[in-house]
């Protein structure tokens, strides 16, 4: 169950690549885990480390001025591809609290909400100019989820909008399973009582090891 997300203040790092798929956020080799802790070490692994696991120079998050960034300003279609929730866990474990992009992969976006990673959609041009600002280094942003606004160091305000359900989720950090069971168990039972027999898998199938 995620912690409520109300305000984020942090340094922004620019990621000037479109179509960042979840394979890049965390490669498949690091999906062979049985826990979600410590995945931050493998974030953007192939861009940050060579085949022998030695750090490569130059990836934006490894540059001294962006090491402590908690906000990522990306491009279009961030988080497309594989459904791996490990992508969100890796970002969060690394310390990223918010990703700003002009669009997100659907499953990645849903996974982010569930874990309390704020994803902000802004228009393409807005994202570009924000990224250019961030690239100069030392851009601190104040993000207010309730008010749906980003405040720049200059005092300039950028409005964004969240779907009501997403906003509520972030602000409250809901235990969804508990909420569904408490609020809708009756509805689930009703469906099960009227569920046609032919919608269920056959039970007399001989399946042996």
């Amino acid at each position: 169950m995620p912690e409520p997300v109300k305000k984020i203040r942090g340094k922004a790092a620019p990621l000037e690549i479109d179509d960042v798929d979840t394979d890049q956020i965390i490669p498949a080799q690091f999906l062979k885990v049985l826990t979600r802790k410590g995945l931050g070490a493998y974030l953007f692994y192939r861009w940050r480390f060579d085949e022998e696991g030695r750090p490569k120079e130059g990836f934006v998050l490894d540059r001294p001025e962006f090491r402590d960034a908690t906000i990522l300003v990306a491009g279009r279609n961030f988080g497309i591809g594989s459904s791996r929730e490990n992508a969100v866990w890796a970002l969060m474990d690394y310390g990223i609290r918010c990703v700003i992009a002009s669009s997100f992969g659907d499953i990645f976006y849903g996974n982010s909400v569930k874990n309390g990673l704020l994803c902000i959609r802004l228009e393409d041009e807005r994202v570009k100019s924000l990224r250019a600002e961030a690239a100069k280094g030392g851009l601190f942003l104040d993000i207010d989820v309730e008010a749906e606004k980003i405040t720049m160091p200059s005092g300039e305000v950028i409005k964004f909008s969240l779907e009501p359900a997403v906003k509520k989720w972030l602000l409250e950090g809901l235990d969804e399973i508990e909420a569904t069971i408490r609020g809708y168990d009756e509805k689930i039972r009703e469906y099960e009582n009227r569920m046609s027999h032919f919608k269920m898998p056959r039970k007399d199938v001989l399946h042996t090891e």
Partner: protein, 493 residues
């Protein structure tokens, strides 16, 4: 206003609405595999919860499994542990498990349809993006994350935002040697990797009606690469025939009742879509990707782009980056590029009809000595069916490696992978950087293009190769299911 097939199934499963756009849907089928499930099971245990409907939940090992002889030990310790964790979780939570040794093991999106776990009109979820594949049978199928999977385990329901509707129409007749894989690659090339974000893609039109159930699975599978939330095709007789008599499909009176219900799942003529796209496939040529996402794609006779031809700065940068990663020169011809490996496999193109296509091209020909060529059937059932027909002899005589089922080189979580800088033509669905191993260079293409490439050792245009007829393959030991669903349509019946 009439409803689409998607809306009909949606409406039938909505239990409640929350806020403006969140709907709670009942989940009729939950499929799970060893990679995205362990943390969900762990959390269930920690919270003292059970799986609400073990009878509707099926666990399958696919992503990690070696494709070599199953009598050999699983060498990778982490893979072995994940596989064992799935076995333990299935036992503890009373789920049916198709494990490494099961005759029904295979890639989850191949196994669901072929065992009749996937049927029209149901809602189906799986912790895997390519769950859209099951939409080919007329199911409402969505890929979900691990947290959502845990919610489904505990409540047998899922909160979803209603996706927008997009029609993707394929009209016309495919030219010889051009396949549904080429159509979907072309579509993604035109629309981009984000072209269908937020939408469910409903494939329709003459060309889709004529496609077999397996061909529809290929296009639904890859709609994800165009950003679609999922994909669907309205069910018809071909789908009924595909699942009739399969182990988990309804039988007897249930079967009759099911068909009556499925017949109602047609998109009505006055249904509306938020977005439309039409492609006439008659003029299509075989497609192949040149870059590092599936939209970076050209016809096999075309040249790879020059970055300067893109007006948009970020597209230009992406093209430069992709060309350098792929080791290609701007503007070069793609045909003739030497390759190290060819992989026929994955949930996109490793079903029986795909293997038959490959056999028709390679029969009597040899794989180039410079190429490692492997065939990894989509499931162990596909493998047995291929062997019953004698296809494996065609493959082995041509010099292909004939392996056991799993995700294999598509995701490189087992030992099947491309080395640093190695180039391969794969029939799978993702050509992302490092997808088939660190430094791997992946070109996506149809089974025919991959087969022609294996023969030449270079990226090849399959249209230069004659295809053996079905009769020339001298298939043995066919079965009623194979005759009805695979062979008769190929014979033009």
């Amino acid at each position: 206003m009439g409803r689409t097939v998607f809306e009909k199934i949606w409406d039938d499963h909505v239990l409640a609405k929350r806020g403006e756009d969140q709907y709670l849907l009942y989940v009729d089928r939950h499929l799970t595999h060893e990679v995205t499930s362990p943390i969900a099971f762990e959390s269930l245990r920690a919270q003292g919860r059970r799986v609400r409907r073990p009878d509707l939940t099926f666990a399958i090992m696919d992503h990690n499994v070696p494709t070599v002889d199953r009598a050999l030990p699983v060498r990778d310790q982490h893979s072995r542990e994940q596989m064992k964790a799935l076995a333990r979780n299935a036992r503890d939570f009373s789920l049916t498990l198709f494990d490494y040794f099961s005759p029904w093991q295979g890639i989850v999106h191949v196994v669901g349809p072929e065992l009749g776990l996937t049927v029209p009109g149901i809602t189906l979820v799986c912790g895997d993006s390519h769950t859209s594949t099951h939409g080919a049978l007329g199911a409402l199928a969505v890929g979900i994350g691990t947290s959502e999977g845990m919610h489904v385990f505990a409540t047998q329901s899922i909160w979803l935002k209603k996706p927008k509707l997009m029609e993707v129409r394929y009209e016309g007749v495919f030219p010889s040697h051009t396949t549904p894989k080429d159509a979907i690659l072309y579509t993604i090339r035109e629309l981009g990797t984000g072209g269908m974000i937020g939408h469910v893609a409903e494939f329709r039109g003459d060309a889709v009606k004529r496609m077999s159930a397996e061909e529809r699975m290929t296009i639904c599978n890859m709609a994800i690469e165009g950003g679609a939330r999922t994909a669907i095709v309205e069910p018809d007789e071909k789908v009924y025939s595909y699942i009739e008599g399969t182990p988990y499909a309804p039988s007897g009176e249930d079967w009759e009742e099911a068909k009556r219900y499925w017949d109602t799942l047609k998109t009505e003529h006055d249904a509306r879509y938020d977005k439309s796209y039409t492609l006439n496939v008659s003029g299509l040529e075989p497609q192949i990707t040149w870059g590092t996402n599936p939209a970076m794609c050209i016809g096999v006779s075309e040249n790879v782009p020059e970055p300067s031809q893109f007006d948009d700065a970020s597209q230009r940068r992406a093209a430069e980056r992709a060309l350098s990663y792929m080791g290609l020169k701007p503007g070069q011809k793609i045909e003739g590029t030497p390759v190290d490996a060819v992989f026929i496999g994955s949930c996109t193109n490793a079903r029986l009809s795909d293997l038959i296509l490959v056999a028709r091209l390679v029969k009597g020909r040899r794989v180039s000595p410079n190429v490692r060529a492997m065939i990894v059937p989509g499931s162990m059932l596909v493998k047995r069916r291929a062997e019953r027909l004698g296809l494996h002899r065609v493959f082995l005589e041509s010099g292909f490696d004939w392996r056991n089922s799993g995700c294999s080189m598509c995701i490189a979580m087992n030992e099947d992978r491309l080395g640093q800088g190695e180039r391969g033509v794969l029939t799978s669905n993702r050509n992302f950087e490092n997808r088939a191993g660190p430094g791997s260079r992946v070109h996506l293409a149809s089974p025919l293009t991959a087969a022609a490439t294996a023969v030449e050792g270079r990226i090849a245009d399959p249209r230069r190769y004659s295809l053996a007829s079905i009769d020339e393959l001298e298939l043995e030991w066919t079965s009623p299911w194979l005759e009805r669903n695979i062979l008769k349509p190929l014979r033009g019946g």
